[in-house]
């Protein structure tokens, strides 16, 4: 029984290694179109210097690396935050997410962020427009406090006009009480 267990562990390790090598293979094959394997070999030296060829350590051009960085920044900037009913208070989780956004904003120049405030549809339209505004502003003020320049931020309230999900239950309402973040270069 014990031996069987060990065999299983070793088998798993082998499989994991295999998967890892599969990954690295995948990465090699994700070179830009037109770049052949032999080209990559010839440019071996350049990789170390990280200059000249335009390829970084990860085998990407500066442009691609920037694009990836941007993609990552965008996905971090796009993460929503949630609110309680009739509340525009930032909870612990929301503050954590906003801290991340502030870091990204400060390390990525040229990005602007539109903060959208949204509400669930249980309230009434006009009050919800104001509540959505307060939700967007709460995030705005927190980001400014963390050192993001106000010129890079703007807010808009959609009230209850754009629910993320449809449904008359707490799960749907909770998802709809949110700030969305639209980043643009």
């Amino acid at each position: 029984m014990k031996t069987k267990g060990w065999v299983l562990v070793i088998l798993c390790l082998v499989l994991a290694l295999g998967a890892a090598s599969g990954c690295s293979k995948k990465r090699a094959s994700s070179m830009p179109p037109g770049a052949t394997g032999s080209d990559a070999a010839v440019r071996d030296h350049d990789w170390a210097s990280g200059k000249g060829s335009g390829y970084g350590e990860d085998g990407l051009t500066e442009e691609q690396r920037l694009a990836r960085q941007r993609e990552k920044a965008m996905s971090e900037l796009g993460q929503r935050i949630q609110f309680g009913f009739d509340s525009y208070e930032l909870n612990q989780e929301a503050r954590g997410i906003l801290q991340q956004k502030a870091d990204v904003m400060k390390s990525t120049s040229g990005v602007r962020l539109v903060i959208e405030g949204h509400c669930d549809d249980r309230g009434t339209e006009e009050y919800n427009l104001a509540l959505g505004e307060r939700r967007a502003r709460a995030a705005y003020e927190f980001l400014v406090l963390l050192g993001v320049s106000p010129e890079r931020l703007s807010i808009v309230s959609f009230g209850e006009e754009r629910p993320l999900v449809k449904g008359e239950n707490e799960t749907a309402w909770a998802q709809n009480r949110r700030d969305e973040f639209r980043a643009a270069y």
């Binding site: 009050y127 427009l129 703007s154 309230s157």
Partner: protein
């Protein structure tokens, strides 16, 4: 001496009685409750041996539809009159009022047709007094709805002293694809017109007192703008400068100024705008949410929603003294106030465990009463020009629609608004009054 006094007293009583009968039947729509008045429409007649034209039936149907909107009228079938049609003609001398009185019918309507000329009358059966009498020449099928509305408006005015109901349009928001646009419609569902095609969300319409303009919030991807639609040009213009990104619940004062919620300093406050649509200064601010201003016909009182004590509650500002009075104390979520034109009442939506419901508060006494009962959500109440009808939106039948009830909470009547969710009714009160 004694006989003289008795005679004098008798004369006085007789004078009083005469006065009372001259005043005739009226309906006190502002009374604590309202009595039901029975009305019968006698079959249409041809005048001077003319045949009854086809449009007589249409006219009768149109009037019947309009009369449904007067909850104090009980429309009786002609068969309720013992012995059948008690008339030989359309005027009082040709009507035998006895069987009508026996059937407890208070009002009798007659219509007489001579080709495309119509004579329409309503009599009080007790006294034989004519309540309304009108003649309309050169009628066409297309003109019939308008004539029916005008006649019923006169009847409404004669009975209640209030005018304007059937001819005062309601502005509202309707979903059009992904967008929300503004429409107008007469309360009985006629003259449905789309007045904006701006795309985005166009929300919270409010009429100017003269009925020539509507202000609203326009919302696109980036920001809010102030929308101003003009009836005379049929065009809507958007204003942004100096307003910031947040423009919520604009409302006209009777003087033609605009109050609107903006966020200039970190909180949503109610500002007054100058004639160039730029903010002059705040009229209500608390550091929290202040929204949904609504004025009475004098403009001296403004109801609004404020989150200054936590959840949203209704407040009334006296603009002369600056005093702000909280008027709702029950429930944790009271929004969307509207003042009656005479400033006696405020209607608003309260969130209850079963959804939003419409409530009315008499401001002088603080006495409160529920006037809508769902199911679903009843929201956005708006007083009619006469301060009697209350329009509101409700999803009681699945989709949001506009309904009418009265201050007394009468059975709601659906306002036909076509396909797409309909919300935020706002009544043009220009034609209202005594």
């Amino acid at each position: 001496m004694k006989i003289k006094t008795v005679l004098f007293a008798l004369l006085f009583v007789a004078l009083l009685a005469g006065n009372a009968s001259a005043q005739g039947l009226t309906v006190d729509i502002h009374g604590p409750g309202q009595r039901k008045v029975n009305l019968v429409m006698l079959p249409p007649r041809g005048l001077s041996a003319a045949a009854v034209p086809g449009m007589a039936k249409n006219f009768e149907e149109l009037v019947r539809t309009d009369l449904r909107f007067m909850p104090f009228l009980n429309l009786m079938p002609a068969s309720a009159v013992p012995g059948g049609d008690p008339s030989k003609g359309v005027t009082a001398e040709d009507i035998n009022f006895r069987p009508l009185q026996l059937a407890r019918i208070d009002l009798t309507m007659t219509t007489g047709w001579d080709g495309n000329r119509l004579e329409a009358r309503v009599y009080e059966t007790f006294s034989g007094r004519r309540v309304v009498g009108k003649a309309y020449d050169d009628l066409t099928d297309a003109a019939l709805p308008d004539v029916a509305d005008r006649f019923c408006s006169l009847l409404m005015e004669a009975l209640t002293g209030k005018k304007g109901f059937f001819t005062s349009p309601i502005a509202f928001v309707r979903r059009v694809g992904e967008a929300k646009e503004l429409f107008t419609v007469l309360p009985q569902g006629r003259a449905l017109t789309q007045i904006t095609s701006l795309g985005g969300f166009n929300l919270g319409p409010d009429w100017s007192k003269d009925g020539n303009q509507i202000v609203f919030t326009h919302l696109n991807q980036e920001r809010h703008s102030l929308g101003v639609w003009d009836r005379r040009t049929g065009e809507a213009r958007l204003y942004r400068e100096g307003l910031g990104n947040t423009v919520i619940s604009p409302a006209f004062t009777p003087e033609g100024d605009i109050a609107v919620t903006l966020n200039k300093t970190g909180s949503a406050d109610i500002y007054m705008l100058d004639k160039g649509f730029r903010p002059k200064g705040t009229i209500a601010s608390s550091g929290f949410i202040d929204v949904s201003p609504a004025f009475d016909s004098t403009g001296r009182n403004m109801a609004f929603t404020s989150g200054r004590f936590g959840g949203p509650q209704i407040f009334v500002l006296n603009r002369d003294t600056g005093e702000v009075k909280r008027v709702t104390f029950v429930g944790g979520y009271n929004t969307s106030p509207t003042l009656s034109p005479d400033s006696r009442y405020v209607v608003f939506a309260r969130q209850t465990p079963n959804g939003h419901r419409i409530f009315i508060i008499e401001l002088a006494t603080g006495q409160e009463r529920q006037i809508s009962f769902g199911p679903g959500n009843d929201e956005d109440p708006a007083f009619g020009p006469e301060g009697y009808y209350v329009a509101f939106s409700s999803n009681r039948n699945g989709q949001y629609r506009i309904y009418l009830t009265t201050r007394h909470g009468d059975e709601p009547i659906l306002v036909p608004t076509g396909p797409g969710d309909a919300t935020s009714p706002a009544w043009n009160t220009a034609a209202g009054g005594e």
